[in-house]
């Protein structure tokens, strides 16, 4: 920490000293913006530029970024400074600093051609700050909201209780795939949270040694269990996508708020609209996490963001909101930084959704866990939550007929 502060102080002193020397403004009298232009500094930053940057303001750095010399203007080789090739040392360093220099390397590929890359600082600060803060509070907030909901609404019970006759809701392979996905996601979530929060929340209390060992194994688990998650995601998609296409029944479900508020139970097929939201969240967010995860597993091999930004620019959407086009060329390191942040942000959102899913599938609703436990649900539960699906099963003869309405069925003595 002390070293960082000293470094910042030294940098500020180092940067401001020459510029202060060029200005004739008496100390304690800051220059008015625009009073000293870049012409007066020979193209270097003004004090106002530096102060604005330190205040965290966005500054137009094109006067430096683009001042990288021009080989076409070079003096002849026999002339004064001709050997510099039209590019001064300052211009060459600027070109390196902004990734504009034509660097050739004999080993290491594109990654090694980047000599100065300041995106790492932005990544580090975002990961330490907003990512941890908002991500952490999102999960805590979700848990609090679910606890409050449970206290207010209580457990959603089966009206009239269970009747003892069951129907098969999920086959063995469906349940095994679900638990493959669920188990791997929980492992990935926990090890991911350790990786993000280990340093501020575990190391100070349990020691750096413990945190280090924990993170080494977390990384090992995270990197390898990822494959189980991807496999399960594909299996679940293939098995359930046909049941999760939105249809008109979903509108009724939304109109009655899914029966979550009030005591109505809207009709539904195999999956109701709420479950469809969970399904598509898992598939889309899970796929996005998987792709960004693959980019992290195979460093610098998969470039996602430059191409995505190019596509977004091409659509012209940003122009509608007066937002400048996104950078289409990113350094390989920057691709990795963005992949990590995106991976974590999407994972936080999916974790919050899954917490709600775990709640409703366990303590939140009577009889719901049976669907994924042994696959058999009580007919009263099926009638209450998936009435159309139950009717379809009965028509197909895959559910026992109702003894009250079917004359062929005689009640047991």
């Amino acid at each position: 920490m002390l070293r960082t502060i000293l470094a910042v102080v030294a940098t500020v002193l180092f940067c401001s000293a020459p510029i202060a020397a060029q200005q004739v403004v008496p100390p304690g009298n800051p220059p008015v913006e625009g009073e000293i232009g870049h012409d007066a500094t020979g193209g270097a930053q003004t004090l106002e530029d530096i102060l604005a940057r330190q205040r965290g303001e966005e500054i137009d750095d094109s006067f430096r970024r683009e001042a990288i010399g021009n080989p076409d203007n070079a003096a002849s080789m026999t002339g004064q400074l001709g050997t510099l090739g039209g590019v001064s040392d300052a211009e060459l360093w600027r070109a390196l600093r902004y990734g504009e220099a034509n660097v050739t390397v004999s080993a290491g590929g594109d990654v090694a051609t980047v000599l100065v890359q300041d995106g790492g600082m932005r990544w580090y600060e975002f990961r330490q700050g907003p990512l941890r803060t908002y991500g952490g509070w999102l999960l805590i907030g979700t848990l609090i909201a679910l606890a409050v909901f449970f206290l207010v609404r209580g457990r959603i019970k089966i009206d009239g209780g269970k009747i003892g006759r069951t129907v098969t809701r999920f086959e063995f392979i469906e349940r095994a795939s679900h638990w493959l996905l669920a188990g791997s996601f929980i492992l990935l979530g926990i090890t991911g949270l350790f990786s993000l929060f280990g340093r501020p929340l575990i190391a100070p209390y349990l020691g750096k040694e413990f945190n280090s060992t924990l993170l080494i194994y977390s990384k090992l688990i995270h990197n390898n269990v990822a494959w189980a998650f991807i496999v399960a995601l594909v299996m679940v998609f293939v098995m359930w996508v046909a049941h999760n296409i939105p249809n008109r029944t979903d509108l009724k479900w939304f109109a009655q708020a899914g029966g979550i508020i009030g005591n109505k139970h809207p009709p539904a097929k195999k999956f109701n609209a709420g479950q469809k939201i969970i399904f598509w969240s898992v598939i889309l967010l899970g796929a996005s996490i998987s792709v960004s995860g693959l980019a992290l597993l195979f460093p610098f091999e998969i470039q996602l963001f430059g191409k995505t930004f190019a596509f977004i620019n091409w659509t012209g959407v940003l122009g509608w909101f007066d937002i400048a086009p996104l950078p289409e060329y990113l350094a390989p390191q920057e691709e990795m930084q963005l992949a990590q942040l995106w991976h974590a942000i999407v994972a936080f959102v999916l974790m919050a959704i899954i917490l709600a899913h775990i709640y409703i599938g366990s303590v939140g609703m009577e009889g719901a866990f049976d669907a994924m436990g042994n696959g058999e649900v009580d007919e009263a539960w099926a009638h209450q939550h998936h009435s159309i699906w139950l009717e379809e099963l009965k028509e197909k003869g895959e559910a026992p007929p109702d003894p009250d309405t079917d004359p062929k069925v005689t009640p047991a003595e």
Partner: protein
């Protein structure tokens, strides 16, 4: 519950399998980020 245990067992099998398969295919970061001229051990 059998399905749940099967799913959990599959996680272990896939994870251990992935570890050894990727290692065998020279995908460890040690191997992919160094050449024969680099002595890691």
């Amino acid at each position: 519950m059998k399905a749940m245990l099967t799913g959990f067992a599959a996680i272990v099998v896939i994870a251990i399998g992935a570890h050894f398969v990727l290692e065998a295919l020279d995908f460890s970061s040690e191997n992919s980020n160094s050449a024969a001229s680099v002595r890691i051990d």
